[in-house]
C-alpha cells in the first residue's frame, strides 16, 4: 500500500470572526435571503437534519458516540452547536427522496390522463453539513445531474441549495474521511464555511452569494490565536483510527470474487439494507405502481432500493444475487471498486455511517482491509 501524506490543514487567512452571540444573525440572513433553513437537531435519539426554527434548536452541547452497530448521543465536554459529526442522514433524503412520485394518472372515458406530481422543491439552506457530506453531494450530482438523463426532481432542489458547512473539530470513532481524501476540512462546494471555536466562529465565504450573506454579518478580523485554534482542532479531527485503502488498492477487490470471506461476512450480514440507505452516495431505486381501488387514480412512485434486497438482483426472470454473500459482495465491489470506472473515484467518502448504523455491527473498513490483506483467489 502506498504511504499516505500526513494531514495538513489549510485554514485560510481570509477568515473573519463571528461572535457566538451573532450566530442567530447568520440564521436570520439565510431566512432574509428567502431560504428555508435546514439544520441539525436532536430527534429520535440522533442528530437529524430538519427545518430549523432558530439557532436554539441546534444540538448545543451534544455529541454522538459511535462504534460498529452503535450510535449514542450524550453531553459533550463543550457547549457547542456542532460538536457532533454525523447523524443517520445528511443531504440525500432532501434531494434523492426515499419516495418520489414520478407521474400520476387518472382513468377517464377518453383514456388515461397524465399529470405531473406537485414539487416541493424550494430554496433551502443547509447549515452544519460536513466535508464528507459535500463530497457525497458531488458524487450524487454526478449520478443524478451530469449523466445523459438528468433527474428533474433532484436537479430542481439541487439548484436551490445554499450550503453553510462546518469544519469538523473532532472525529467520531467511525469517521475515516482522511483516508478517502474527503475531510475533515471542507474545501469546496459551500457558500459559507464555519470553524466553531469556544466563543464564536471563523467564517469564510465562497462565491457571490456567500460573500453577500457574509457582508451582512457583524464580523471582526480573526486573530492569529483564533486561527491557530481552528487549525489545532482540524488536526484533532484528522486523527482517525480507521483507514480505507487507497483507490488503486481498492480496485483490486475485483480479484476477490470467490474469496471465502464473503461467506463469513454473510453469516453476520442481515441483508437489511441499512448500510446502503444511510450511505450518502448510494443511489439505487425501484418503481412501484400504486392505484386507488375506487377512484382509479394511480401513481408511479420511485422508492429507495438496495443491492441487499431480493428484487434488486432480479433481472430477466432470474435472481443473480440470491445469496446474502453475493449481495454484500455487490455493495463492496460497486461502492469501492467499480464505482471508480463509473464516476472516476470510489463511492465512499469515509463518513462511517454504514458502520455505526449496521444492526449487525459489520465494519466495512475492517472487512475490506481483511480481504485485501488476504491472498487473492
Amino acid at each position: 500500500m502506498p504511504s499516505r501524506p500526513g494531514y495538513s490543514s489549510t485554514v485560510a487567512m481570509d477568515k473573519v470572526y463571528l461572535p457566538r452571540g451573532s450566530l442567530g444573525e447568520l440564521y436570520q440572513a439565510l431566512v432574509d435571503e428567502g431560504y428555508e433553513v435546514i439544520g441539525p437537531q436532536e430527534q429520535q435519539d440522533a442528530i437529524v437534519f430538519a427545518p430549523l426554527s432558530g439557532i436554539e434548536q441546534l444540538p448545543w452541547g451534544r455529541q454522538e458516540f459511535t462504534a460498529p452497530g452503535q450510535y449514542r448521543l450524550d453531553n459533550a465536554s463543550e457547549q457547542r452547536a456542532f460538536h457532533w459529526n454525523t447523524g443517520p442522514q445528511s443531504f440525500k433524503p432532501w434531494l434523492f427522496k426515499p419516495q418520489q412520485v414520478m407521474w400520476l394518472g387518472q382513468e377517464t372515458d377518453d383514456g388515461i390522463v397524465f399529470k405531473a406530481p406537485v414539487s416541493d422543491a424550494k430554496p433551502r439552506a443547509f447549515i452544519g453539513v460536513r466535508s464528507c457530506d459535500i463530497a457525497a453531494l458531488y458524487l450524487q450530482d454526478q449520478h443524478f445531474m451530469h449523466g445523459p438523463h438528468p433527474d428533474p426532481w433532484y436537479s430542481e432542489q439541487r439548484r436551490q441549495l445554499c450550503i453553510v458547512a462546518v469544519n469538523c473539530s473532532r472525529a467520531a470513532d467511525t469517521c475515516f474521511c482522511v483516508s478517502t481524501g474527503d475531510g475533515p476540512e471542507a474545501t469546496y462546494g459551500y457558500d459559507l464555511l464555519l470553524d466553531e471555536l469556544d466563543d464564536g466562529y471563523l467564517v469564510q465565504a465562497k462565491g457571490e452569494r456567500g460573500n453577500r450573506i457574509l457582508a451582512t454579518l457583524p464580523t471582526q478580523g480573526a486573530t492569529p490565536l483564533q486561527q491557530r485554534h481552528a487549525e489545532e482542532q482540524l488536526a484533532r479531527a484528522a486523527r482517525q483510527s480507521r483507514q480505507m485503502p487507497d483507490a488503486d488498492t481498492l480496485k483490486s477487490l475485483v480479484e476477490h470474487l470467490s474469496d471465502e470471506q464473503w461467506l463469513r461476512i454473510a453469516e453476520r450480514c442481515l441483508a437489511c439494507g441499512n448500510c446502503t440507505s444511510v450511505c450518502p452516495t448510494c443511489f439505487c431505486s425501484k418503481q412501484e405502481a400504486e392505484q386507488d381501488l375506487v377512484s382509479g387514480e394511480h401513481q408511479q412512485v420511485r422508492v429507495w432500493d438496495s443491492c441487499f434486497s431480493e428484487q434488486h438482483g432480479h433481472i430477466a426472470g432470474k435472481n443473480i444475487r440470491g445469496e446474502v454473500s453475493q449481495r454484500y459482495r455487490q455493495w463492496v465491489l460497486h461502492k469501492l471498486a467499480t464505482w471508480q470506472d463509473q464516476y472516476q473515484r470510489s463511492g465512499c467518502v469515509g463518513c462511517g455511517r454504514c458502520i455505526s448504523w449496521c444492526p449487525a455491527a459489520i465494519d466495512l473498513v475492517e472487512e475490506v482491509n481483511l480481504m485485501l490483506g488476504s491472498r487473492h483467489d
Binding site: 430527534q43 429520535q44 435519539d45 440522533a46 437529524v48 452497530g69 452503535q70 450510535y71 449514542r72 443517520p88 442522514q89 433524503p93 426515499p98 419516495q99 454473510a266 453469516e267 453476520r268 450480514c269 442481515l270 441483508a271 437489511c272 439494507g273 441499512n274 440507505s277 444511510v278 392505484q291 381501488l293 375506487v294 422508492v303 429507495w304 432500493d305 438496495s306 434486497s309 431480493e310 428484487q311 440470491g322 445469496e323 446474502v324 455505526s356 448504523w357 444492526p359 449487525a360 455491527a361
Partner: protein, 262 residues
C-alpha cells in the same frame, strides 16, 4: 363484472375480517368492485356457492376446520389466506410446542368436551393456496391491492422485503442501534411501514419472515444486547412461531435454556 367474494373463518380472532369492515364509507365504494356472497361477520351466510375469491382467515385447529376448508377450496377459483393464522398457524400455533392434552386439562373444567387437533397449522399445509396475505392483522392496503389485481385478472406479486427498508424510507432512526431495542425488522417482511420503530420500539414481526431471513445473526445480536435465551425465544415465538425460519431460532435457543437449567 364485480368479483364474487366469500370470507371464511377458521380458528382466529376475526381481526382480519375487521380490516374489511372497519374501512367505513370506503366499504361502500369497494362494493362496486366486489360482491360479497358469504361473510358471516357482515351478516351474509352462503358458504357453498362458487365464488371467484375465497378469503380464508384462521388456522386449522379442529377436524371441522379441515372439513370446511376442503369445501372452501372446492368452491372457489382463487383461495387467498388472510392473516397470520391462516398463513402460518398464528399465535395459537404456540401450542404446537406443548402437549395439547396437558393444556386442555389445565384450562378447561370439562376437557372431554374439547375436540381439537394436536397442532394449529396453516391453510397451505392442507389445500392449495393461490396467494398469501401475511399480517396480524392484514392491512386494508393489502386487501385493496389484492382485489384490484384480481379484478384485472392477475395475481398480485409477493413482496417479502424486510421491514428495515420501509423503516429507512420512512426516515426512522434505527432503534436497535440507538436504544439497543431487539428489533425483528431485519428478518421479517414489511406491511405496516415500520410502525413500531416509529414509536421507538422494536418490531414484533407481525407480517412474518422475510426473504433471506438471517435469524442466526439477528438472534446472536439480541444475545449481544443482553437478551437471555428465553427472551430470544419469545421474540421469535411471538406471532409466527410455526414458520421454519422462526422455528430454527426457537429450537436453537430453547436448547440453551435447558442447558442453563441443567
Amino acid at each position: 363484472m364485480a368479483l364474487t367474494v366469500a370470507v371464511h373463518k377458521l380458528t382466529s380472532c376475526s381481526g382480519c375480517q375487521l380490516a374489511f369492515l372497519n374501512q367505513g364509507p370506503a366499504l361502500l365504494s369497494l362494493m362496486e368492485k366486489v360482491t360479497f356472497v358469504h361473510f358471516i361477520e357482515a351478516g351474509l351466510y352462503d358458504p357453498n356457492t362458487p365464488v371467484d375469491l375465497a378469503l380464508v382467515e384462521g388456522s386449522v385447529t379442529t377436524k371441522d376446520d379441515l372439513e370446511r376448508l376442503k369445501q372452501v377450496r372446492a368452491h372457489c377459483r382463487y383461495l387467498v389466506t388472510m392473516g397470520a393464522c391462516a398463513t402460518s398457524g398464528g399465535v395459537q400455533a404456540l401450542r404446537n410446542m406443548a402437549n395439547v392434552d396437558v393444556w386442555k386439562r389445565a384450562v378447561y373444567a370439562r376437557p372431554d368436551f374439547i375436540d381439537t387437533l394436536a397442532d394449529s397449522t396453516p391453510v397451505a399445509e392442507h389445500v392449495k393456496v393461490d396467494f398469501e396475505l401475511w399480517g396480524c392483522p392484514v392491512t386494508q392496503a393489502q386487501l385493496d391491492q389484492l382485489i384490484l389485481q384480481l379484478s384485472r385478472g392477475v395475481l398480485p406479486k409477493d413482496d417479502a422485503e424486510k421491514v428495515c427498508m420501509a423503516c429507512k424510507r420512512a426516515q426512522q432512526v434505527c432503534v436497535m442501534v440507538t436504544r439497543q431495542e431487539p428489533c425483528m425488522g431485519p428478518v421479517v417482511r414489511t406491511g405496516c411501514g415500520a410502525l413500531c420503530p416509529s414509536f421507538g420500539r422494536g418490531c414484533y414481526g407481525c407480517f412474518g419472515p422475510s426473504e433471506q431471513p438471517n435469524g442466526d445473526s439477528l438472534a446472536n445480536r439480541f444475545a449481544g444486547l443482553g437478551l437471555q435465551p428465553e427472551e430470544i425465544v419469545q421474540r421469535f415465538a411471538g406471532i409466527h412461531s410455526h414458520t421454519p425460519s422462526h422455528q430454527a431460532q426457537i429450537k436453537r435457543w430453547q436448547q440453551l435454556i435447558v442447558k442453563e437449567i441443567e
